[in-house]
Symmetry: C2
């Protein structure tokens, strides 16, 4: 589908003409409608068992090698894999026999390949796509991780991949099936997003081994997933199929160059003619598989990681397999084998017109054996996880400023910039061996390098845009290391200004901490009003972490405010002979407090004692795999402590205290490698715990996993709550799974869940919510307790392929990695808790961007700006604002409350799109599906009947010609807006 | 070239018509003449260094896997290799770019592939061959071993492969270049054969490391090999090129799926753009290579073992390499890279019109480092080596009887038989990891199984033919285990007859030993005349070896005679109450003698003391690689004893003696695993040493290599002589190589040479010649001494890829293999020694075939037959007589004497072909080249100028219309005869 019309839009502009031409081409080549590609499916036989063979390759967008190494087939000494050759080879082999089929998944690779092809090859591939011989499934830039990703970045990467397919191939290139065959557990929010992206169904390969066993018996490996408790069914209903062999071929039938299974030897003149043996083995396997699925159709995934580099091996043998098995039909064998695709298989399941069991929870945690819980990667590589999250924030700012600043953002005073580089870097970082932390060290480095490079490109956009919006072309300085108090400008300058850009659609108040070497400063806001500021000494922990990258002795602390989708500018001047900085006291106070919170400490231990009853730091020693129950060690994927009782790092903390009008903080020192600052800003509703952990000591030859545990008097009944991909919250119960009778074998690791942005515990009176700054693993092992894993360092590989222990050493950090992060704690009555944690978490995700200019500002500089006419209502989050093409922008508005969580905010909200922006005139709008690759009103999905409940009515959408759009709880609506700068 | 005309031949028969049609097709498709294919060579640049890139694969016809496993890609767990896919892939890739080239070598594989292709694919491949894009080189059924093969079997396998190419592709499919890139040393006789097969040149990859070093300095890696001291130059002159990197690509430029070198990464948008680096590295390598060759053309072999299974990887990167390197010509770089083939490269060398250094010796032994002499495989797997040799004898008999018996041989009284199965089995057995003994055990078993299966097919031909020739359809029994006295028929029958077929063109006298359980027999010959026969007890050694396969207590011994190319039939009857058998005496006699020889024994030691002065049995203990000079152990390829002084197994032998009118023998027992019979038959000119060795004990954890050493008083001056592939004899000198100054580092292994059929030592008075029954390694380490390695068993792999120690255990022989063989010793004055050893060796190679029928023969049975009108003169050996097609046979006649070795026999001999056969009428004849794939008078080869000597005149051949053909010393002449049975 090429976007070619806008409602309320003047026709005749150049881009529109091009777009209409595309539509015409499309109409000639492929009829519209959802059944388009399905006409290419091979006929099946209703009275037989139909075996759908699905040739496929699974191409990790980085894992043991970097994405570009995988593309080219470089570093084959690490792993033999070259995607360029896979696509070369598959296209060749598809052309040899029109019966053959192939599916391709990862657009990050396909895009690289496509742009190197001749136009005649491109035409050939289009033909294959049009004829359904090459089918795209999933189609995002990558196959994202589900446990450690944030929905914002997932939607972006899916949008980028699907857009490329849409613009290259039209409707025949639009995937109908989501395909997450490898991720290590499955998030409900992913299913919800896939439903809203228009997928007809979803297939995956990995689930808990007990869950699978139960589902096999009950024939529930195919089911209907109702993936939201707030969206009206079937908006978030997704047919879900669990593949029979992970994503591998059945045993003995792998014919890739990377496999050793015997080929079909059908020349009777040569040794070892084996056709009869192959046919018999295949029939046995097919029959066993049919026994655990519902219909007379079964699917077999014929491929695996980076397979089909020499597709001839596969297809030559598959051709023979199909031929020889189907030849047995003449002997009365009722089995029909065919080349197929997931969408052709799905179509047959749909035609079966059955009811399917309904699932409303998710597929976490994932265990592939009794002691093999893949819950370690929820925390693996915490530094990368944070860098990915802050990069998303920066990218959204870059996207917004590209729109708000106009064309000059991309080519302006500071040169040429772009947001594409960072969008691509963020997209590959969503891969299930990227932000998950399960890649090799050099690959983790490559993801970080890409993000850094992307940010360089974005900085030009941001600088250009801010120059245009402010009227000042003064050089703009970026300080990306403020978390360790490093910023050469502020450390040395006597006068500078700070631009605070706020990417949220609401005003924000934000604490700023700048490394300085003076002892007293004045700060004034955009209106010239003085701002309360304080200077405090840099902590010892920070000095140790930053090493010789910075030399500031003090930090200047003040709170700033920035308008919605806009900025405010603060001026800072050194005061000569000013007062000395706030001194630290070497004893914890009994209480720190602001108008919202009061925090009490135990003066004997130095530990926090109220807000929650007790807070402490603990560690698990990792299993080295050497114990009697199982030889599984903890590793990048797997979490397996060697004891269910954590080791308490220190029963007491050494403390220092800082207290002034801006901030009150207690600096706790537990060990040389664990410290924390408990911090309360003057206007904050949340208590900040800034933790600094590492390098984890390994001189005892034990890997370590450091947790922070909050033990409270809240009566949790072994229940706690975690978010799914940063959106809806799911209830978790200790040693319990909603859909099967759990036999718990790992009391800690088996109770860990991914925490993407928040977790909470509650009873009727209190709710303690912890908002995280990155994805982490956590659990509630004891009543009233909530623990979060902060950092991990392991000495053994966990034998899931990565082949390296998660040790995270490098030239720069030979002694191991130090990681710093923040947890925000809020304590509220449960009925209003969401009103606090929803905006709090969004502030953590999309945090203000500080940029600096040295000296005095040009007097004509516009010191404050907002892109919105007014702040959006509290329930509405502006998820996406990004340039789509020359004259249009993509806008996503989101209702950020679940239907049950807030009396005030869990209500429908209506927004007028035409009155949204302050500087953009909206000339036209069209609503799209979530992934922006289909008009919303043309998105017609298969309807599936659950075993329980009546079939819901299809939801009707508002007429998109009306500017007023209503958002219901947890709804995300996606619009293409035709705009011009006012 | 299709054979379509015969001289003196009546036209009009059906096969001729078909043949003429083929010619016409040929003429239309491809112009005749040697430059045919060379027009397809890419243009070169005379003022630049031209780098010929030759894409190739080296496909072992069995090694770590069997030939069929390699073809299909079965057992990829052992080694990833599937030839079917290689050919699929290469053809695909050649079609993608007409500039690309490929060469293919092993017809055993190509044939398997071809017959599975559709006719349209066959047409496509023909087109590629016609356009020179796919070029066959070498083109035999396999790439034969050079050290352990017999010329008879090599010529056969080359003929079979080249015939297939000829009949499939015509002249464009005829290889112009011989290509032995992998064999472990190079035989002069192979070069001579290649010259006579019409090859323009020869390339190989392996030679002694010292030899290469010297040749690099002197730019003599390309040379002219004068490969015969008897044939008139340039009959056996062969241009020979030594490839620069074995047969591998230069370092860093291997782009196969099996390699890890970095691909060319030429997309500047992706990581690690490396075009400049690749170009610079390539130019450096090309320049270094050009410095050690003579012309401004160099060759690079871009491929290796089983490469190009996914040819896209290679070609995609080679396309880029050529593009980017040649792009540098615009910057003044004088290097031109092109796709090429060995024949295109050779053509450029020829055009260079230079003179080339002349070589007359050979390339044995091959060492790749100071302690790494590949001389072990001369003896490795002695049982397989013997089985291969006896199989050749049986195949020649089968071929001859197929001709002599007429069409009924293939489909007669005993059903359908064929010689093709055995021809193919023999052809693959010539491979350089087959008869060489350097394959894995299961592959050795496969070669043996193929030979046994081939012999089953041939037995039907032989039975049918003998039934036709004799008029008796009595069941014919084959006893293949007479060497261990096993033959169920003779063990139990009271009356049976023995048919003795003699495949030589001369009458033969042959000792027969049959296992029997009676004590007295009468034997009568074809004329009913009684034959002297004796019964002797089965020796203890034989009883141990045969285990429970046979139960005979005695052996019936008598001498038979058989006519040329014919048989004689002997009748045997048990005599009831006959005399007891010859008893054995437990003491050695002083002398055994017949009219030719007298053999004296030392009564104290039991050892042979005259004929030669001293004879003993010794062993080398194999190096386990654990010594200070080198860690190279002895293995399948490598011979490396742990001491230069062999360990004497026993200073004395226990003896038994048998003496009667037919045979006198001394049975010597040295150890439980070494025994020998010294045997003299009544009419023999040679003394037989029948050795039985094994299982070699390994309880001392030492591998062992058993030699027999003949120490004589002959004054050898450290010189001895060995044959080359069973034909011409070369002089060897201790610690000496004719073409470079040898630095000897392995005093034993470095002085070993292959002995295919004979070795001798001599002085002015005496020549002691040893004729062997198989290929063995041997040397003359001391003056007057000649040693031959009989058997070897090793406990370490020698790290040349086979990955197994040469231990030769199996279910049947868990304790290790026992091997039995024969050496024939003749002692003559040097001027007449060849008159004895030439026919003696041929009798050993083509030995009579004994077949048996039980009971009385039909009285009408023809008991004697000869296919020749008369025996051929002593100098002439009938090398080949085999059915070619329905009405024609292939005949090879050979002068079997070197020009210098016999006063009587080293003279030209003339034979009248029309008067040759007794039962075949010769209707027409045409002379062919040695490999029978070109008319002799159309075989025009490149002429090459040696650095010394004037250019010889081209030899002119007799008018082939004359029936009389003359053979000069060492000449082999090949004829296609149109025949009919008289």
């Amino acid at each position: 589908m090429i976007f070619g019309s806008f409602s309320n839009m003047a026709a005749g502009s150049q881009p529109l003409a091009v777009a209409l031409l595309s539509i015409l081409t499309g109409v000639l080549s492929f009829p519209l409608g959802q059944e388009t590609k399905h006409t290419s499916c091979h006929a099946t036989k209703p009275n037989m068992l139909n075996v759908h063979l699905v040739p496929h390759t699974h191409d990790d967008v980085g894992w043991l090698k970097t994405v570009d190494q995988y593309y080219y087939g470089d570093r084959n000494d690490i792993q033999h894999a070259g995607v360029q050759y896979i696509l070369d080879s598959v296209v060749d082999q598809l052309l040899k026999n029109p019966d053959r089929r192939f599916i391709y998944v990862e657009t990050a690779f396909f895009y690289r390949w496509w742009k190197q092809q001749s136009s005649s090859m491109q035409q050939t591939v289009k033909q294959l796509v049009n004829e359904g011989r090459l089918e795209f499934v999933n189609g995002g830039w990558c196959m994202s991780d589900e446990a450690t990703t944030h929905y914002s970045a997932v939607i972006d990467q899916m949008t980028m991949g699907l857009r490329f397919l849409n613009e290259t191939f039209g409707p025949c290139g639009r995937p109908r099936v989501a395909w997450h065959i490898d991720p290590f557990g499955h998030a409900r929010e992913h299913a919800s997003m896939f439903a809203q992206m228009g997928y007809d169904g979803f297939f995956f390969g990995r689930l808990d081994y007990q869950d699978r066993a139960r589902r096999m018996i009950d024939k529930e490996q195919e089911l209907l997933w109702r993936a939201s408790d707030s969206l009206t069914p079937p908006m978030a209903d997704l047919f879900t199929g669990i593949l029979p062999n992970g994503y591998n071929p059945p045993q003995g039938f792998c014919w890739d160059q990377s496999c050793d299974d015997p080929p079909i030897r059908d020349d009777p003149d040569l040794e070892d003619y084996n056709v009869d043996d192959v046919v018999n083995r295949f029939l046995t396997i097919a029959s066993a598989q049919a026994a655990v699925y519902k219909t007379n159709h079964i699917i077999m995934t014929m491929g695996s990681d980076f397979q089909y580099e020499n597709a001839n091996l596969w297809y030559k043998n598959l051709d023979k397999l199909i031929h020889y098995v189907n030849a047995q039909q003449a002997n009365g064998i009722k089995v029909n084998v065919l080349y197929s695709t997931p969408s052709c298989y799905l179509q047959e399941l749909h035609r079966a017109n059955l009811t399917w069991s309904l699932k409303t929870d998710d597929f976490f945690p994932y265990a592939d054996d009794a002691h093999d819980f893949w819950t370690g990667y929820f925390t693996s590589r915490p530094a990368l996880k944070r860098y990915e999250r802050i990069s998303n924030s920066n990218l959204q700012t870059c996207n917004q400023l590209e729109v708000l600043g106009g064309p000059v953002s991309r080519n302006g005073h500071f040169g040429e910039g772009d947001s594409q580089t960072m969008m691509k870097a963020m997209a590959v970082a969503q891969h299930h061996d990227a932000v998950s932390g399960t890649e090799k060290q050099h690959v983790a480095n490559d993801y970080a390098r890409r993000l850094a490079n992307g940010w360089q490109h974005c900085q030009v956009v941001v600088s250009n845009s801010l120059a245009a919006l402010s009227g000042s072309s003064a050089q703009r300085i970026y300080c990306d290391n403020l978390n360790i108090s490093v910023c050469p400008l502020t450390e040395s300058s006597k006068k500078f200004s700070v631009n605070v850009y706020n990417p949220l659609a609401r005003p924000v108040t934000w604490p700023v901490r700048l490394p300085v070497n003076g002892t007293a400063y004045t700060v004034s806001d955009a209106k010239g009003k003085a701002v309360d500021c304080q200077v405090v000494p840099v902590s010892r922990a920070t000095q140790e972490v930053r090493r010789n990258w910075g030399f500031a002795v003090n930090e200047l602390v003040f709170q700033v405010q920035a308008p919605p989708l806009g900025y405010s500018t603060y001026s800072v001047s050194l005061v000569k002979d000013g007062p000395p900085p706030t001194s630290t006291k070497h004893r914890a106070p009994t209480v720190i407090q602001n108008k919202f919170l009061q925090v009490t400490f135990n003066p004997d231990t130095g530990l926090l004692s109220s807000l929650s009853n007790l807070e402490t730091k603990q560690e698990y020693n990792a299993s080295d795999g050497n114990n009697s129950q199982s030889d599984q060690p903890s590793g990048a994927y797997i979490f397996r402590p060697n004891s269910s009782t954590p080791f308490i790092i220190s029963q007491t903390a050494k403390t220092e205290t800082v207290q002034n009008s801006v901030v009150q903080e207690v600096r706790q020192w537990f060990a040389p490698w664990v410290s924390q600052v408990v911090r309360l800003y003057a206007d904050s509703r949340a208590l900040e715990l800034e933790w600094t952990v590492g390098p984890l000591p390994i001189d005892d030859s034990l890997g370590k996993e450091v947790i922070t545990r909050l033990d409270t008097s809240i009566k949790t009944s072994e229940i706690f709550y975690t978010d799914s991909n940063g959106r809806e919250v799911l209830q978790r119960k200790k040693d319990f799974r909603p859909t099967w009778h759990l036999k718990q074998s790992e009391p800690i690791a088996g109770n860990y869940y991914p925490i993407n942005s928040r977790a909470f515990i509650k009873d009727d009176v209190d709710q303690l919510t912890v908002v995280t700054d990155r994805s982490q693993g956590g659990g509630s092992i004891h009543n009233g307790s909530l623990e979060i894993m902060l950092h991990r360092r392991l000495l053994y590989d966990d034998v899931r392929g990565v082949g390296e222990p998660l040790n995270e050493t490098s030239n720069i950090f030979p002694e191991g990695l130090v990681v710093r992060g923040r947890l925000l704690l809020s304590l509220d009555p449960p009925p209003t808790a969401a009103d606090t944690h929803r905006p709090l978490a969004q502030e953590m995700v999309l945090q203000p961007l500080l940029t600096f200019t040295d000296g005095n500002l040009n007097p004509h500089t516009q010191l404050e700006f907002s892109g919105l006419q007014a702040a959006l209502p509290p329930a509405v989050h502006l998820l996406t604002l990004t340039q789509w093409d020359k004259d249009s922008v993509l806008l996503r508005l989101e209702h950020q409350f679940q239907s049950w969580e807030s009396k005030v905010n869990s209500q429908p909200v209506t927004i007028n799109l035409q009155k949204l922006f302050s500087t953009l005139e909206v000339l036209g709008m069209s609503e799209l599906n979530l992934s922006a690759n289909q008009w919303k009103d043309e998105m017609i999905r298969f309807d599936w009947k659950p075993q329980t409940g009546k079939k819901p009515l299809l939801k009707t959408f508002e007429d998109p010609s009306v500017w007023e759009v209503t958002l219901r709880p947890m709804e995300i609506r996606t619009f293409l807006l035709r705009v011009s700068l006012r």
